[in-house]
């Protein structure tokens, strides 16, 4: 939907009325005054129509391809607003870039849920969304929104999809029966020494060590045992991957035969015909992703984009394309059979079958654990 000048003015005025002043404040007031007086100036139209593109940064690969094809391209066709895209392999990388850029250079981030949301909040990078501008948020699963709202009552992000980091294995080497029997212990099976992989990420490594030591990942009691297990996996591992593309490359080329892996990327490999199996062991690491609007972004356009992305037709198409279930509530929106078969899909809409990381608990330990993991990953 192309924003009309009137609609844009209404929204900008709303934002001003809500106390959400931006660099456009002057423009808003001038334009609103001019509109109310029935006046218009030649430069106004150009200035108001200045936002012709929105910047988006995501995970690249099959995930971003799906978002681009099913959301951004139709959005651009409809609104003439171009979505300029960038990619990152690790979200900390993009946070570093955002910190060194000026507000507005980076606008919408496909972010890794509440764990990362805290980082943006702490660094003062978040904005305040006017939820009235995203009516499709009504269809989003409330259990996904709540953790964000606990951190900032006025949201800066909207949940968009979710998935799990389960166990992927090469079915030519490991049978589904063996995988089911061993579950997360496959990552510590000496039989596969030198053929094991894993995500080079502290949370994933600590999470799977917690499962291996029988501890609750959201309430770890024995960190020494955790780090011992992390080292054990490291010693068996051939390579810890750092991006979805690298994960797919290692699995498809047979460099590794078992790894923890993102469910959607495994589904993409299966679609390509690779002999890769996937299972979510008990307590598998569940995560959600959100569309985060950064401070200094053109809010009206970004909200409009997210509303478009959350439109059921768009969201379903993206979900099928990227192989991750959407954040839409299955009790409110009829989802397709393909989505219902995706790994990690929760048909109840309560998300109770999935174990998410407690953001406050993990945020408290993040600095120390990341440092320790970085050392262990390098042989310490």
């Amino acid at each position: 939907m192309k924003l009309t000048t009137t609609k844009r003015l209404e929204r900008l005025h709303d934002r001003y009325a809500n106390g959400d002043l931006s660099r456009r404040t002057f423009l808003t007031l001038t334009a609103a005054a001019a509109a109310s007086a029935g006046l218009s100036m030649p430069w106004m139209g150009r200035a108001l129509a200045a936002v012709q593109e929105v910047r988006f940064d995501g995970w690249g690969g099959t995930v971003q391809d799906a978002i681009d094809k099913f959301a951004f391209q139709p959005y651009t066709t409809k609104t003439k607003i171009k979505v300029v895209q960038g990619t990152f392999g690790d979200e900390d990388e993009i946070i570093t870039k955002i910190k060194t850029a000026k507000p507005g250079d980076y606008q919408v981030i496909h972010s890794s849920g509440v764990n990362y949301y805290i980082k943006y909040v702490n660094a003062g990078l978040t904005s305040e969304i006017n939820e009235a501008n995203i009516p499709n948020m009504a269809n989003v699963l409330q259990p996904m929104i709540e953790p964000f709202r606990k951190l900032t009552p006025k949201l800066s992000a909207v949940p968009y999809d979710y998935g799990t980091t389960g166990i992927a294995y090469n079915t030519k080497v490991i049978s589904p029966e063996e995988a089911k029997e061993k579950g997360a212990a496959l990552l510590l099976d000496k039989k596969y020494a030198g053929k094991v992989g894993g995500y080079s990420d502290m949370t994933t490594r600590v999470w799977y060590a917690a499962l291996a030591t029988g501890q609750d990942p959201n309430n770890l009691k024995d960190m020494d045992a955790i780090w011992a297990k992390v080292r054990e996996t490291r010693d068996l591992a051939k390579k810890f991957w750092s991006s979805g593309a690298e994960l797919m490359d290692l699995l498809s080329k047979g460099e590794i035969v078992v790894t923890d892996a993102w469910s959607g990327r495994v589904a993409a490999l299966q679609d390509q015909g690779h002999p890769i199996g996937y299972l979510d062991p008990a307590g598998s690491y569940a995560w959600m992703e959100d569309m985060l609007i950064l401070k200094g972004s053109p809010m009206a356009e970004c909200e409009e984009l997210i509303n478009f992305m959350l439109d059921p037709a768009t969201s379903i198409a993206v979900a099928e394309g990227q192989s991750y279930p959407p954040s839409l509530d299955p009790n409110k929106v009829k989802l397709t059979e393909k989505i219902e078969k995706l790994p990690a899909f929760d048909k109840t809409g309560t998300m109770k079958s999935l174990t998410f990381a407690d953001p406050t608990y993990w945020a408290t330990n993040e600095d120390a654990w990341t440092k320790q993991w970085n050392r262990i990953s390098k042989g310490a």
Binding site: D90, K119, N122, N374, S377, K378
Partner: protein
């Protein structure tokens, strides 16, 4: 009567004016960023992505007292030295061949040296995955020929990292040695031969000593570039094969700890700068400039 001072050919003011643009570039794009980084080393890390300007020496204290960092530094210098030495050994012969050949189109050989630079460095590094991997060219060929039963573990280890760096650095070494050889007066070799030296003796007594400045320049260049490398260990090595550059990357990009990352960056800068300074003291920088300039 006062005479208005005129510009002369060697007027210092003219010299300053000519050098001013370069000086400004150096100040804004080299000195200032390094100074900012140096300042950052005294900032206080609060949490991931958050630091304050409250001054502290905690980062330097951590670096100096934690053996993890010094161990990494030693390992990085070791890998850098091995890579540079291998470059020296492997690079000398092609350089000598290009210099000594009577092939009419010598320029073609020199062109071949720089052809790899036309391809992205990252792609060149990635290409080794398809060569050394379990399903790479070497393993597949050896398996099909029945020479091996299991693929050889050639990727994601220190050997692969050094190989990747050799691939990237060898042209620098060859060019440096070649330039050095080119500056040798060939009549000296003829003189040595006419005085009874064999070819091998002439090489050992005349050519090799006179080409040493180029070899040393190449060694320094390869060592500094290898020790500061980040991409090659990231792509071709495992976590254990990370170098100091990877440590800096992880500290800044992974832990979002800029003060500590800045400290490590300054350490690497000082250490590599020390080696460059020692080289300059004894050999001078002119050889490297000649080598890079062709």
């Amino acid at each position: 009567m006062l005479m208005k001072r005129r510009w002369t050919l060697y007027d210092p003011r003219l010299a300053w004016m000519l050098v001013a643009p370069v000086l400004l570039l150096l100040i804004f794009f080299l000195v200032l960023p390094i100074a900012v980084m140096a300042g950052y080393t005294f900032f206080t890390f609060v949490t991931a992505g958050v630091e304050t300007s409250a001054l502290t020496t905690a980062n330097w204290h951590e670096f100096l007292t934690d053996s993890y960092y010094s161990g990494f530094l030693v390992k990085t210098l070791r890998v850098g030295a091995i890579t540079a030495l291998l470059c020296g050994v492997l690079g000398y012969f092609p350089a000598y061949f290009i210099w000594a050949t009577t092939f009419r189109h010598k320029w073609l050989l020199l062109l071949l040296l720089i052809v790899p630079f036309w391809i992205s460095f990252t792609i060149r590094t990635f290409s080794w995955i398809n060569i050394l991997g379990e399903q790479g060219v070497i393993n597949v060929a050896l398996l099909k020929l029945g020479i091996i039963n299991e693929p050889l573990p050639m990727l994601y280890n220190e050997g692969a990292v050094i190989l990747g760096m050799l691939h990237f650095l060898l042209p620098y070494m060859i060019l440096n040695v070649y330039v050095s050889l080119e500056s040798i007066d060939r009549t000296l070799i003829s003189a040595a031969r006419s005085m009874g030296c064999t070819s091998a003796q002439a090489f050992r007594e005349v050519t090799l000593p006179l080409s040493l400045p180029g070899l040393a320049a190449g060694l320094l260049l390869c060592f500094v570039l290898a020790a500061g490398s980040y991409v090659t260990p990231q792509l071709l090595g495992s976590g254990r094969d990370a170098l100091f550059g990877n440590l800096i990357y992880d500290t800044i990009m992974g832990e979002l700890n800029w003060p500590m990352g800045a400290t490590l960056s300054i350490v690497l800068f000082i250490v590599l700068g020390f080696f460059a300074a020692v080289y300059t003291r004894y050999m001078g920088m002119s050889q490297i400039v000649k080598g890079l300039g062709g």
